[in-house]
């Protein structure tokens, strides 16, 4: 038998110069885990500060740097790369029956770009920080802020090109490298979501790059494109930023939806209900997602007519999400449900994403957003989707494919317990924030009015549970590498080409190129 991709070669060099998509996936996994804990540490400090109304633990400037670090690191260095680069890199070629992605060297280059960008960002953090918030609004960022705004922007700029390269690679791979017989409507839904995510990566990220470049030029050389004092318009920055960043929130959810589709189908032993509609819904989200960015500008003095257009389009883009939610639920009906840890996470995703999405409707409703904009309601909205949705999906996917990735089983009982722990901690952390937001507590507040304290204490209590919850999988995954039970090729009796290879797979994935003759999720009861 051929050696697995893990055992092929052992030197550090063989890892750092690898072009094997599976190893690159592992490189990403290790790096983003580090960033998650950096972002998490910032969150921890913020939550501790928010235990009491006055700003007594850290200074206001430090607090402002903390949420900037938290936002930047979590968005660009953890959540955007999370599922696409870790699970996507590992699984896309395997799921479509290919030996590798279309451009393996470009794939490695993406990781180096990502790490290069991260180096700049970390340097900016360590050498004094940045206090603009992750949104870098001008003229604050370009004229008034102290700190290493330019270094931070450079980091995001460079990492952005890594994202573009990854997206390009996936698009070409999915178009050109599918195994014979693997038609579009036989693809696993995970592939559909990675494909649509890639479209967003490729079309949106360049706009962020140039926008940050203009902002940095304004800061460094006084170029006045966004500077009202020089005839520029700060709203233009906001338009450009959100032209990227709203589609980017779909980069941060579509892959999670893909994982959820895989998990729900596998663990209820059914073909995913309404497969085609769920696939189309992904495309609809990716395309329509580009038309709604102005819903972040409802109180910014954008024209009210533009506001109405963006509002109605925001409702429109929610329809395909609704389609997905209903189809997932329907898949469970009359299934044969096997409540393993991955399914627990998938169901957690389903519930929490729906709550997050539904509260997005509150924000898309114009008059209501006037009250809720820039309050903790928004914070709760997106943490429900990004942490409750995407992070849950990422963890669910990790558990599901861990046997394939590592060749070992994780401890099931402990994993179930951790999943419940995370679920409980999550809700305790972020549910009170909805109430805080409706009460009117603004976000990015280092000190707050005393009547908000009780809810903030609850939130902090939840965050500490959550922190422990996240440390658990980290520890037992590491533990399982050595002590875990050896995994069979297909421990879940799942369909999908990746399960036809040994666990862990050999470097070339398949001895012979598989030929596909059936639809995805062809489960027998």
């Amino acid at each position: 038998m051929k050696p697995s991709y893990l055992e092929d070669e052992h030197s550090i060099r063989s890892w750092l110069l690898t072009t094997d998509h599976k190893r690159i996936g592992i490189l990403y996994m290790v790096s983003i885990t580090v960033f998650f804990f950096i972002g998490g540490a910032a969150a921890t400090l913020m939550r501790i500060e928010l235990l009491t109304p006055p700003g007594d633990l850290v200074t206001s400037t430090t607090y402002n740097k903390l949420f900037t670090i938290h936002g930047v690191v979590m968005v660009w260095f953890f959540l955007i790369p999370s599922i696409p680069t870790v699970l996507g890199n590992f699984l896309v070629p395997m799921m479509i029956g290919a030996r590798d992605v279309a451009f393996p060297r470009l794939n490695l280059a993406s990781w180096y770009l990502f790490m290069g960008g991260a180096a700049f960002a970390l340097w900016a953090i360590v050498s004094g920080g940045v206090d603009t918030g992750w949104t870098f609004y001008t003229p604050y960022s370009s004229t008034y802020a102290n700190g290493h705004v330019i270094a931070m922007a450079t980091g995001i700029f460079i990492a952005g090109f890594g994202s573009i390269a990854t997206g390009l690679n996936f698009i070409v791979t999915i178009h050109k490298m599918r195994a014979p017989g693997l038609t579009w409507f036989r693809l696993p839904l995970f592939i559909w979501t990675i494909y649509t995510t890639s479209i967003i990566l490729v079309l949106a990220t360049p706009v962020l790059a140039i926008t940050l470049l203009l902002m940095a030029l304004e800061r460094a050389f006084g170029v006045g494109i966004f500077n009202p004092a020089m005839g520029g318009d700060p709203l233009l920055f906001q338009h450009l930023f959100w032209f990227y960043s709203h589609p980017a929130v779909y980069i941060m959810i579509l892959p999670g939806m893909g994982v959820t589709s895989e998990l729900i189908a596998c663990f209820s032993r059914q073909r995913l209900f309404g497969y085609r509609y769920v696939a189309y819904a992904s495309v609809a989200i990716a395309v329509l997602g580009f038309l709604v960015w102005g819903h972040h500008l409802f109180v910014s003095s954008q024209s009210i007519y533009a506001g109405m257009v963006f509002s109605v389009l925001s409702f429109l883009v929610s329809v395909p999400s609704a389609i997905k939610v209903f189809n997932w639920t329907a898949t469970l009906y009359r299934g044969s449900i096997w409540l393993q840890t991955p399914l627990l996470y998938a169901l957690g995703f389903l519930g929490l994403f729906t709550i997050g999405g539904l509260t997005g409707l509150f924000l898309a409703a114009l008059a209501v957003d006037v009250h809720l904009s820039d309050t903790y309601f928004v914070i709760a909205h997106f943490h429900y989707i990004m942490v409750g949705g995407m992070v849950m999906a990422y963890l669910g996917g990790l558990h599901f494919w861990w046997p394939k990735i590592s060749g070992r089983m994780y401890p099931e009982a402990l994993a179930k317990l951790s999943a419940l722990f995370i679920f409980a901690g999550f809700n305790l952390t972020f549910f009170p924030q909805f109430l805080l937001g409706y009460l009117g507590m603004p976000r990015r507040y280092h000190a707050y009015a005393p009547e908000f304290q009780v809810l903030n204490v609850l939130s902090t209590a939840g965050a500490s549970i959550l922190a422990i919850g996240y440390l658990l999988p980290l520890s037992y995954f590491l533990w399982s590498l050595r002590y875990g039970r050896k995994a069979e090729p297909n421990p879940w009796q799942a369909t999908g080409l990746e399960w036809t290879t040994p666990s862990p797979p050999p470097t070339d994935n398949f001895d012979v190129t598989p030929i596909v003759t059936e639809e995805a999720y062809n489960y027998a009861p």
């Binding site: 604050y140 109405m308 509002s311 449900i337 009460l439 009547e451």
Partner: protein, 315 residues
């Protein structure tokens, strides 16, 4: 450490919009609550009933059902459209200040709010209002973007440098309410707040008359108009040829390079600070810029004074 165990779960409702916004909010809450409850219930029931090895019927490979997809898609869509329209109508109302609203000037700067009433009474980080009287805030910033947010009024609007933004509301309940800055603006963003006091009419009148009211906003503008040399050019008999400013407000102005603009507040503001931005037809660009010489408060006073000289053109 914890100040009090009893704490509010809903914000106070102290403006006419508060009720409208809350109505939409609770309608949304009801619809969404129903949906999330339905989905969670379905998930739990299915997971129990169809658990592996249960005696229930397990059917597989059902594929899909087009009628079902159409049904839930169109139902969702209709609900969405209804919510959109409702919220848009209220939003539209929020953005149309009534003509009789008293005008209060707001200048934001890192990290304080400076306000001025029509009669000249100034306040910092505090705003006294009369119950039942609509007010319109004309706001600008001297540095970065801020946001004037009064949760009890459900009112919020960004305040931008070099731009006038407007919001309005009618206070409906006597009391003291939070004012927050809701757009991140740097170090002391979280301390850039204060209080809105809503008073009974009599008390408000007493408050308004007290304090350092030396001159009304219009009077201050008139004083500046002379003191800063505007009248040297713009007075009818001045040596320099400059456009007369009587009745200019809301008048269509023909510009030198073709094109016509309506002389609204923003135009007057820019004419003073950046006179070269738009040159009036028939005049030489000799007006000096007052950028850096007048602050935004003074400009607002001048603009108000010019407006007081009469309104021209068609509305």
């Amino acid at each position: 450490m914890i100040a009090s165990v009893s704490f509010p779960l809903l914000p106070e409702r102290a403006s006419d919009f508060a009720g409208s916004v809350d109505a939409i909010f609770f309608a949304l809450l009801a619809v969404c609550g129903l949906i999330i409850f339905g989905i969670c219930a379905a998930v739990v029931i299915f997971c129990v009933r169809y658990r592996r090895g249960s005696p229930a019927v397990h059917a597989t490979l059902r594929g899909s059902s087009l009628p079902l997809e159409i049904a839930w898609t169109s139902a969702t869509f209709l609900v969405f459209v209804a919510i959109f329209i409702w919220a848009a109508v209220v939003y539209f109302r929020m953005s149309r200040p009534p003509a009789n609203a008293a005008e209060i000037h707001v200048v934001a700067k890192q990290w304080m709010w400076k306000l001025q009433h029509p009669n000249g009474r100034r306040e910092i980080n505090e705003l006294h209002l009369q119950i039942g009287e609509p007010v319109k805030l004309v706001m600008t910033s001297q540095d970065v973007i801020h946001d004037f947010f009064v949760p009890a009024f459900r009112a919020k609007q960004d305040v931008l440098p070099s731009r006038y933004t407007v919001q309005w509301f009618t206070p409906t309940r006597v009391g003291k309410y939070h004012l927050f800055c809701a757009e991140y603006c740097g170090m002391d963003h979280s301390h850039m707040g204060g209080w809105i006091h809503v008073l009974e009419s009599a008390e408000y009148a007493r408050w308004l008359a007290s304090g350092d009211v030396t001159e009304s906003v219009v009077a201050a503008g008139a004083r500046l108009f002379v003191a800063r040399g505007c009248s040297g050019c713009h007075a009818p008999n001045a040596a320099v040829r400059a456009p007369p400013l009587n009745g200019i407000y809301r008048k269509p102005i023909a510009l030198k390079d073709g094109g016509v603009v309506i002389a609204d507040e923003q135009y007057l503001h820019d004419s003073i600070l950046l006179p070269n931005r738009q040159i009036t037809a028939g005049y030489d660009p000799v007006m000096p810029t007052y950028e850096g010489q007048l602050n935004e408060e003074e400009v607002m006073q001048l603009v108000t004074y010019i407006r007081s000289l009469g309104e021209g053109g068609t509305r």
